[in-house]
Symmetry: C2
């Protein structure tokens, strides 16, 4: 089983994936990128037997599927086993319990960014919601992250378009930091930090990319990357899984426009997106009354156009050569 | 002037580099990697006039140089101007004051990893020490990071081997986190956290790569990356710039062995290294007596063999397919 280890100096957790152990010579081999053709692709229709048993599907009236959820064949965390927490001298580790699922975005192997449409995005988002809601029931799990790696440069290892869901036995560092800022802000102002940012952005209108009835897409004030985008519900909501059908349709249509704008302005760039929602179970230290205002779900989209180098690794600082005001302008123009 | 912006949600700082503004079409161009030949390389001997005025050099008896320090021609932060801190609605920013220097590692344009030797590394490390000591005198600067990007995959944009130094008007997030852990640990145990890790590692000897008289190279317990390496002084020392000539020679010889081991086992991999030392000025909140035990300088080396994708960006977690025990073993074998 993989091992979850905590760095005593930074508090950062690492999954030591002995299941997929790589030795020096493996890295020399992996420099060659493998292209799977549709007739050998495990995610293409007709090859369902090549994957582990299906967890969920969006079934069409003719019994074909539009979206399919399956366990990852090479999971970084496994659902089977006990959650053991152990110390080892100076160090802490936890057994690699969790879930690692794959959401097949579409039956079409060579779906391009342009091909994504609002209806299909609605089905994909529905899969996210249903799977997060289900995994939440497992008392061992504290957090579920849905993410997408689009393009080899963004870390995708399969060409067939897909998203992933990894559920973790601990709340990850990045989410903890966001939660802690939101709680500090709530203590100070009795308001949600994200809500205040949204209203500030709407008032000044310098970094808004697109607004729909219920959602807003922004270029964040301190964007780490060129053309970084944040999508949020305009009305306060901490939990993504509480989203209703109407809101989900509204979100799907906004995301469709945003992905198209990225495609047009940057010619189908490699990108990652991550869905941040409130942890499954919230610590007892924070009384129920404040809970709803201590987070605000959002989707972060980061095109992978610049390289992360020694300065970023050494400081946690980022250098962004495209001011978010310029990025928002270029993306707005691509939508019009 | 570039703008330093703080993200209100994560506390992360970003340099918005309007000086090198990139628009959508620029990213399509930058996909082509430019190779500079020695006769057009600004870092090669004979081309000294192509760079801004020299700051420091290691001069040889024949008046040629072995190492040269120059201001970066396209600095992300500039030394000229006033340090202005301003609020802007919800947001905070600081003017882009700082220093950005380039340390030319060698006169040889096509120096390979194998070509680095202990004597030359000693000269490079001396340049780091001298420049950090000098920048420390500027009251506006709080931290200086020395780092190296080796290879295009690690973010190097010039082929000629070089290191960089960026001095910042604030203590960066990553260093703040390390300081805060060290201070918490000191409060609890009245000992240095790093010293305790070193003695734990020496007792169990599972992740030690190499020891010299005064330094130790480890594969960290919770390594984020395959073949990640941490080099530390065995005797407690918070500040790199207090290093003496003898220790510096010892460190240079250990680094020479480590770089050779990386070269042999992973065939000259792209990598970054970062030197972490205590901030220039430490906050008044922490009384002088504890100061010396609240940090321990170290060099982090990270080979760039795996891709960072949505999971890492969304959580701050890392997935490492090579356990540090295996990495240490492979590197030890490459040294023998």
């Amino acid at each position: 089983m993989n091992d979850l280890r905590k760095d005593p100096i930074t508090g950062r957790w690492v999954i030591i994936a002995t299941d997929r152990l790589l030795r020096p010579h493996d890295f020399q081999k992996t420099k060659i990128i493998e292209e799977t053709s549709p007739d050998r692709c495990p995610l293409c229709p007709g090859h369902e037997a090549m994957t582990p048993p299906e967890i969920w599907r969006w079934e069409n009236p003719d019994h074909s599927w539009s979206v399919r959820v399956i366990p990852n064949k090479f999971p970084v965390l496994r659902i089977e086993g006990d959650l053991l927490r152990r110390g080892e001298g100076m160090f802490d580790h936890i057994s690699g319990i969790g879930a690692h699922e794959l959401i097949v975005d579409s039956p079409v192997h060579s779906l391009t960014l342009e091909d994504y449409d609002a209806e299909q995005i609605f089905r994909i988002l529905s899969a996210y919601k249903i799977r997060l809601d289900d995994l939440k029931k497992d008392a061992r799990l504290r957090y579920g992250l849905v993410f997408k790696n689009f393009g080899m440069e963004a870390g995708a290892s399969l060409r067939h378009p897909h998203s992933q869901l990894i559920a973790l036995p601990i709340i990850p560092k990045n989410v903890k930091e966001e939660l802690s800022s939101c709680r500090d802000y709530y203590e100070l102002k009795e308001r949600c930090l994200f809500c205040d940012i949204i209203s500030d952005e709407m008032e000044h209108n310098k970094r808004i990319i697109l607004e729909s009835e219920r959602h807003i897409a922004l270029a964040p004030y301190a964007s780490r990357f060129p053309f970084e985008i944040c999508i949020l519900p305009k009305k306060h909501e901490a939990c993504f899984t509480r989203i209703g059908e109407k809101e989900l349709k509204d979100l799907a249509s906004l995301m469709d426009n945003i992905l198209e704008a990225l495609d047009r302005s940057l010619s189908s760039p490699p990108f990652n997106y991550m869905l941040h929602s409130r942890p499954f179970r919230v610590s007892e230290r924070h009384p129920e009354t404040t809970l709803d205002l201590d987070y605000h779900w959002h989707i972060e989209i980061i095109p992978r156009l610049t390289k992360i180098a020694g300065f970023e690794w050494g400081t946690g600082f980022y250098i962004n050569p495209t001011p978010p005001e310029e990025a928002a302008k270029a993306l707005r123009e691509a939508i019009d």
